[in-house]
């Protein structure tokens, strides 16, 4: 490499790093530094550093951790199944009304958690649609909004639009000839789906699934709207911080929650190869 080349490379790289500086300063000052303090504060309460072990071992916290993880896992599984069916279907077929369906399915993308909580109340709340219908049909009001079921429905609502978009983008790259080959060899539609389509969609499924899981773990707008009594980790953190003023425990629990969601996303990244991020 000649001197002229060296100089050109130097010129090319010096300016860009300067351009990164403002973002880096904001990021370090308002994210890295506070997060480091959060970790220290977590160890500064009456329990000391064992607050972190308490977050994982004390029955009250452990119970909410288990129910949060189970809820997130159930949401992820259900979202992936229904979104895959619709996503692949909408990519494969062209029919009248398809565009309308796609718009309807992706409209709630980026609705905030609080609004989604209200959507669940509209469906299953005291004056909701499903209780009214069940009342008319079976003389019984099926109110499900203010419980774990309501939260599950809410997270499903939240996750379906973005998951369908991810799956549609990935399904466009599928080669229909492979499915035709499988079909012509006598495989039924379910065999084709499980043995051909699912493996081909795996990176998209892993990426979208990780986002579902992480948002169902961490987002709490929906839980906040539905009921403060739902025992999920974000609600416990909020209660510890605002009602109990137990900042150290809230910090330790936040750290545990952050570590779990971050690990889920990092795992997905290493499996699917693309970088993924949660939202909301």
């Amino acid at each position: 490499m000649g001197i002229a080349d060296d100089r050109r490379v130097a010129q090319a790289t010096r300016a860009p790093l300067l351009l990164l500086l403002p973002a880096a300063v904001v990021f370090c000052a308002f994210f890295i530094l506070p997060l480091a303090r959060l970790i220290l504060i977590g160890g500064s309460g009456p329990l000391g550093w064992s607050a972190y072990t308490a977050a994982l071992t004390e029955p009250r916290y452990l119970a909410s951790l288990v129910s949060t993880v189970s809820l997130a896992a159930a949401t992820t599984l259900a979202t992936l199944i229904v979104s895959s069916v619709s996503g692949v279907f909408l990519t494969r077929h062209r029919f009248t009304g398809r565009r309308l369906l796609v718009s309807m399915l992706t409209l709630p993308l980026a609705f905030p958690g609080v609004v989604i909580g209200f959507m669940v109340i509209m469906l299953g709340g005291r004056q909701g649609l499903i209780p009214s219908v069940s009342d008319a049909l079976f003389d019984e009001r099926w109110v499900f909004a203010y419980s774990m079921t309501g939260l599950f429905v809410g997270y499903l609502y939240f996750s379906i639009p973005r998951t369908i978009l991810t799956i549609m983008a990935s399904a466009e790259k599928l080669d229909p000839r492979i499915e035709e080959a499988a079909r012509s060899l006598g495989a039924g539609p379910i065999r084709v789906a499980l043995d051909v389509i699912v493996p081909a969609l795996k990176p998209a499924l892993v990426a979208a699934g990780a986002i579902c899981f992480a948002t169902a773990m961490g987002a709490f707008g929906t839980a906040f709207t539905l009921a403060t009594r739902i025992n999920v980790l974000p609600m416990v953190i909020y209660t510890e911080f605002t009602l109990q003023a137990n900042i150290a425990m809230a910090a330790a629990l936040s750290f545990v929650l952050g570590a779990i969601t971050w690990a889920a996303l990092a795992l997905a990244r290493s499996v699917s190869g693309t970088s993924v991020a949660a939202a909301g």
Binding site: A12, T13, P16, L20, P22, A24, V26, F27, F30, F31, L33, P34, L35, L38, V85, S86, V88, F89, L90, R92, M104, L105, T106, L107, P108, L109, A110, P112, G113, V114, V115, G117, F118, I121, M122, L123, L129, I160, A169, R183, S184, G186, G188, P189, A214, G218, F220, G221, F224, P234, F241, A250, A251, S254, L257, T261, W262, A277, A278, A279
Partner: protein, 279 residues
């Protein structure tokens, strides 16, 4: 592409279910599931719009239509609506000022270091907003008037939206041959700033537009961080929404939701359009 080509000659195929028929059934099932999902997503939206304009939701349409609820929301909550718009626009300005240059820097630094920075920038999205806001309060809560200022909320929103702007712009930069354009301009003697404003920015316009729409949309709806960061004097729109849902009648909550939809749905549709064009 729609019709599978059945190349296997079957003997006595009349006794077997014909592929067309089987496909017809599976087509129907999939269409049904898809339609059911759309109804699940859209029905509550329509219901809340109806409820927001109904005099008494419990009694139904017979109680008459009214705009009173929407007017009530606009008069009682206009401060939080204005504040949310102010924060969203300020957040967009900050993103344009620091996010777009950062994306360019990351694009040019094609190294492990660059990828590491990109990973780090995404962390505020991966870490729950509750944790980030708690960390911000612990660290900067005692800093003069910052805690009482709307700027405190802006900082949270900026952290959360920055990765969306950076990645949106970065994606466009990587998909076009920006290096070749810049090299050509440089060889013709264009200075760094000239290249920036005449080559880089115009070519990344679609990514900047998509990123901007995303930033404004996310900022307008952000709740997870804002719930802890806000004060009684700095209530944003989603905080007001949660307030209305918890304490007021369903018509007011619905009317407030309608106001929010009016702000956010055009942004979401524009977002759909821009991403649809890119594909």
């Amino acid at each position: 592409m729609r019709q599978p080509v059945s190349v296997v000659a079957r003997t006595g195929s009349d006794s077997l279910p014909r592929p067309g028929l089987r496909r017809g059934l599976s087509f129907g099932v999939q269409l049904f599931i898809t339609a059911l999902l759309s109804v699940f997503l859209i029905l509550p939206v329509l219901m809340s719009i109806v409820a927001g304009f109904t005099a008494n939701y419990f009694e139904g349409w017979s109680s008459g239509l009214t705009t009173a609820w929407v007017i009530k929301v606009l008069t009682e909550y206009h401060a939080s609506i204005v504040l949310s718009m102010q924060i969203a626009l300020a957040c967009l300005a900050c993103n344009l000022l620091i996010g777009v240059p950062a994306a360019y820097a990351l694009f040019r630094t094609q190294s492990r270091f660059g990828r590491m920075i990109e990973e780090l920038l995404v962390m505020p999205v991966a870490v729950p907003g509750l944790a980030t806001s708690l960390a911000l309060i612990i660290t900067f809560g005692g800093w003069g008037d910052l805690r009482q200022s709307w700027v405190f909320i802006l900082i949270g929103h900026l952290l959360f939206t920055l990765p969306f702007m950076v990645r949106s712009v970065l994606a466009v930069m990587s998909s076009i041959d920006l290096n070749a354009f810049e090299e050509a301009a440089r060889s013709l003697g264009a200075s760094f700033w000239h290249r920036m404003f005449h080559i880089v920015l115009p070519n990344c316009a679609s990514g900047i537009v998509a990123g901007s729409l995303m930033v404004v949309t996310l900022s307008l709806g952000e709740f997870n961080m804002t719930l802890l960061l806000h004060t009684p004097l700095t209530k944003t729109l989603p905080i007001g929404l949660a307030d209305a849902y918890a304490s007021l009648r369903i018509e007011v909550g619905s009317a407030y939701t309608v106001v929010f939809f009016v702000l956010i749905v055009p942004l979401l549709i524009a977002l759909q359009r821009t991403s649809g064009r890119g594909r």
